[in-house]
Symmetry: C2
Subunit: 356 residues, 2 copies
């Protein structure tokens, strides 16, 4: 069966400000030393498994040009523009009906555009095994990450260690971001994995699940599908998408569906959630600094310093994040990385949209 | 007797990098909230006492244009360019012979160009009293600052508390920068003041002292004076200045001369020795931050942040100095301010002269 992919790239993350902006969100940034953007890396990783013309990008019209520029091999008609953000379920549905125009049935990989994978070969092995399981019956497959610590920022997936299919486990339930105490309990049971937001299923399977668990959305998706290629295409898409409820695939389908399997990923996953991740994923120098650009450090250690051509001199610093862009510089204590959003709130209140 | 002034403005300080550069040293920078440069403030302070056309600026040719631009009322011929830096004695001598071309005798104020004074009226009262004492006999007058703490970066002046002339004391001796223990002893005696590098004397007095204690320099100064207004003026200045020894006025004359008086200054003096001074001399906001420019602070306190148009967002910072310029940004822990010179050393080694 053909393997296709839908890469979700509509996010407008704020945690990489000032490099990320409304006009240039995280998935279109390069945060690694190799200079490639997150979405370029995402596409590159799956190329041994999926042909370029079978890769679809779901984003919004503001980012269509960026996607075309950064991913020159992907056909323009594969860049799907959501008229409005309606969370992951409508987004995945939109991808599915477009792919269904091309293939009667196919495997569909659903992948975030802004995560990093360290071991590519192992990742492909995992995806292949996921495809094998997804081809059987009406299985829905997801990839879970073995938790390193009781993270409270991710969703978790409970599996049944006794019910297996190859290396995968039957899923008991999807759970929302837990409190720290609950996360600790999850880890203690050894029966919870992190939800990495990666799904593998047949087109026919996911569409059947839409019909069953999200009938209104399914009906609207069918109308959108019928209009593809007609003069009303954009109008219908716009109307029906606006009319859909905002719903995550986790809540809309995965928490209700049967036959869900989870494959534990062992390929070194990182969601690159904040500037702190940059020192985790890039080489740090002998003093523990992750530096990029025109930087001089004097007695400076464990700092993330990301600049460009402008000279940045760091003297006597420790545990700081410094990010320099054309029009804005962020200087942030590592343990205050969560407060970067307060800068953006401040900018919004003051109508300083040029910086957002 | 006419009062004239020589403002010494040849310094090439590195402690205000990256704002100060070889091409724009501290005296030509604005470090106060009023936007005026240090040398502009120096001139402005003495205007009630000295006519603009009687103010002379000793600097070098690289800064002549800066001086003319920043001090438009001062005649071009009053900007004296030292061909080479030879410390304060030759500089003061050069000023003296130029003033002596205009006046048979006059009071000469000798002032640094890069210090700050808080109470201007009190400062003028002090200068007037200094002039009164300098007019008598062959007195040399200097202004001392009552030490707040045992600073090891300044020279000290020992006075005799029993020998007074008005509010001034007879000077026993000039001493170099002491160790901390010695500085503490000085403070304990209550007979030492900081040397602020400000002198007041008659032209005739200082020239007589040059003749007596620095005869070679005096001879060369006479040659320079004789050539003023002739076609050989520049050539003679260049030759004789290069041939002079490098000597401070303290060591060359003040440590040897008789009849030196010191007036304690009570006018709020600051030598603005480093970026740390900026928070001392400028208003700090409620969190103790001294900010200038386009700055957003979140949970940030006791920081000096000096920028321009570019947005600087400071998040969770404490006790840092941030200085942003067109081509370079400094981020420095307050207790590492002394290490800024290491950045400059690094730049010199790497031949990155554009930043120096």
């Amino acid at each position: 069966m053909n393997i296709t992919a839908l890469i979700m790239a509509g996010g407008r993350g704020e945690r990489f400000w000032p490099k990320s902006r409304k006009s240039l969100p995280k998935q279109f940034l390069s945060l690694t030393d190799d200079g490639k953007t997150m979405i370029q890396l995402t596409v590159e990783r799956i190329l041994p498994l999926v042909k370029l013309e079978d890769i679809y990008i779901a984003t919004n019209k503001d980012y269509k040009q960026l996607a075309l520029e950064q991913l020159p091999g992907i056909p323009e008609e594969n860049i799907l523009c959501e008229p409005v953000g309606r969370n992951t379920a409508p987004c995945i549905g939109l991808g599915a009906i477009h792919i269904a125009k091309k293939y009667d049935d196919a495997i569909m990989l659903v992948l975030p555009s802004d995560h990093l994978i360290k071991f590519h070969k192992m990742y492909l092995t995992t995806l292949k095994e996921a495809c094998r399981i997804a081809e059987q019956d009406s299985n829905l497959v997801t990839i879970g990450i073995t938790p390193d610590y009781p993270e409270t920022g991710y969703g978790y997936i409970k599996f049944d260690p006794h019910e297996t299919e190859g290396m995968a486990y039957k899923v008991d339930r999807f759970v929302e971001k837990p409190t720290l105490d609950v996360a600790k309990e999850y880890l203690a049971t050894e029966e919870y994995l992190w939800n990495s937001g990666q799904f593998i299923w047949k087109l026919s399977t996911i569409l059947k699940n839409f019909a069953q668990y999200m009938p209104d959305t399914y009906k609207r998706l069918q109308r959108i599908q019928a209009a593809i290629g007609t003069p009303e295409q954009d109008l219908v898409l716009d109307q029906e998408f606006h009319a859909m409820g905002s719903q995550s695939i986790d809540y809309g389908i995965m928490e209700k569906a049967e036959n869900i399997y989870i494959l534990p990923g062992t390929f070194g996953w990182d969601d690159v959630g904040s500037w702190l991740a940059v020192e985790r994923i890039n080489k740090t120098n002998e003093f523990g600094n992750a530096v990029k650009g025109n930087i001089i450090t004097v007695n400076t250690k464990n700092c993330v310093i990301q600049g460009g051509e402008k000279l940045i001199a760091a003297v006597g610093l420790e545990d700081l994040i410094v990010v320099d862009t054309e029009d804005a510089t962020l200087i942030c204590a590592k343990n205050s990385a969560g407060d970067i959003k307060k800068v953006l709130e401040n900018l919004k209140i003051c109508n300083r949209d040029e910086y957002i």
